[in-house]
Symmetry: C2
Subunit: 232 residues, 2 copies
């Protein structure tokens, strides 16, 4: 099995299996929402696209944030801890970086899995069960490298073994340079943004740094317009 | 001083000072050629563009390789050790990844310096003397992440200190994970390509892994058509 890591969505690589990481916080929230009992999560880059899905479908919870604050008129923000009790069957999320990475992976891969640390072992097991080459797509921040996503990609690549691309080898070494996931997240730009927003959002860092506490493997099912439909 | 690393030319970042790394082997060869007494090096992506410069200018040595072999009709390959004795005042090189990175940096930065390990200390000193934010551009391989270039970027960022972007922090940690530069280069795809071509090209690995043996700081002077003109 060849294992590659794309540190930004634009350097995507063709592979049968794609794994998308936006660990702070979109893919952690998607994993938590589906593990909690939501049936589907739609991811759209724009706020208006997320809102439109609520108008088109029944029983939709709107989630997302801009600059750390819940979007006006939305039911929930983007903290995974807000998704422990399902309010409906469907979540419609607005998440720019996460959506971009999921869409990029969907165009290059036969199957796309959604990964965080929360479901680390489950994702690694699913990739192994397919037995084919894999590319891990880091969502990054506005197209740029993000330390938190690269850390998780390195953890996934390290557990998978196989034949590593230069980027996969670098990711594995990067992950090994941190004592804990929380240390990596706190040093990342995304983590520092949460810290700067106060203790409520800062609590998402240790939450997202927990490993293999959820057995779910969310998958891209299809695109619905510009929104990616994710389910188990 | 803010320090950023672009692991691929496409993720370029605007900064006053740009530093380009294509350590195996274009930027090592450029440093060696100018330290040896060549006055200018032109870098062009295409073989025909390098040839055209020889027709347009007097006293041009043609250098470059494809798939490890000297290009048909060219005077020299792409081993820095071939550039110890000047054969003329000007070198016209065909190098795809290196040219792409230099051109990308030239569009985003006020000044562009050419770096390898051979001139590590000299480049770091020059960046410090400008005192402005810096972006290190890794040439990579066909647009993808390259371990050898990322290693050198991490060495540069580590010596510079300053305020690191996520990518710069990752590069510093990656570099620190290797015992020596040669170890990093041998593990990279570019290094393995040289090894697979036999002992003559493999010898370029320890050659390019020598640190701060040249005091030159090559700079992008201007574009001449599609070719980048590099001089001290």
């Amino acid at each position: 099995m060849r294992v590659h890591v794309a540190f930004t969505p634009d350097e995507g690589s063709v592979a049968p299996t794609g794994v998308v990481v936006d660990v702070i916080r979109a893919t952690s929230t998607i994993c938590q929402a589906l593990a909690s009992g939501y049936e589907r999560v739609y991811c759209a880059a724009e706020v208006e696209d997320a809102r439109r899905l609520r108008d088109e479908l029944d029983g939709v919870t709107l989630g997302g944030e801009r600059l750390g604050l819940r979007i006006d008129g939305f039911d929930l923000g983007n903290s995974p801890a807000e998704y422990l009790e399902p309010r409906s069957s469907v979540v419609s999320m607005s998440t720019t970086n996460g959506t971009r990475a999921i869409v990029a992976a969907g165009e290059l891969c036969e199957r796309v899995l959604v990964a965080s640390l929360l479901n680390l072992d489950a994702v690694v097991e699913a990739v192994r069960s397919h037995g084919e080459d894999v590319a891990v797509f880091c969502a990054g921040v506005k197209g740029a490298f993000a330390l938190d996503d690269a850390y998780v990609a390195g953890r996934i690549a390290g557990l998978l073994g196989g034949e590593r691309s230069d980027a996969a080898e670098a990711a594995v070494r990067l992950a090994a340079s941190f004592g804990t996931a929380e240390e990596a997240f706190r040093q990342s730009r995304s983590g520092r943004n949460l810290i700067n927003h106060g203790s409520e959002l800062e609590a998402d860092i240790p939450y997202c740094a927990r490993e293999s506490v959820l057995a779910v493997v969310p998958r891209l099912q299809r695109m619905r317009g510009v929104a990616a439909e994710i389910a188990l």
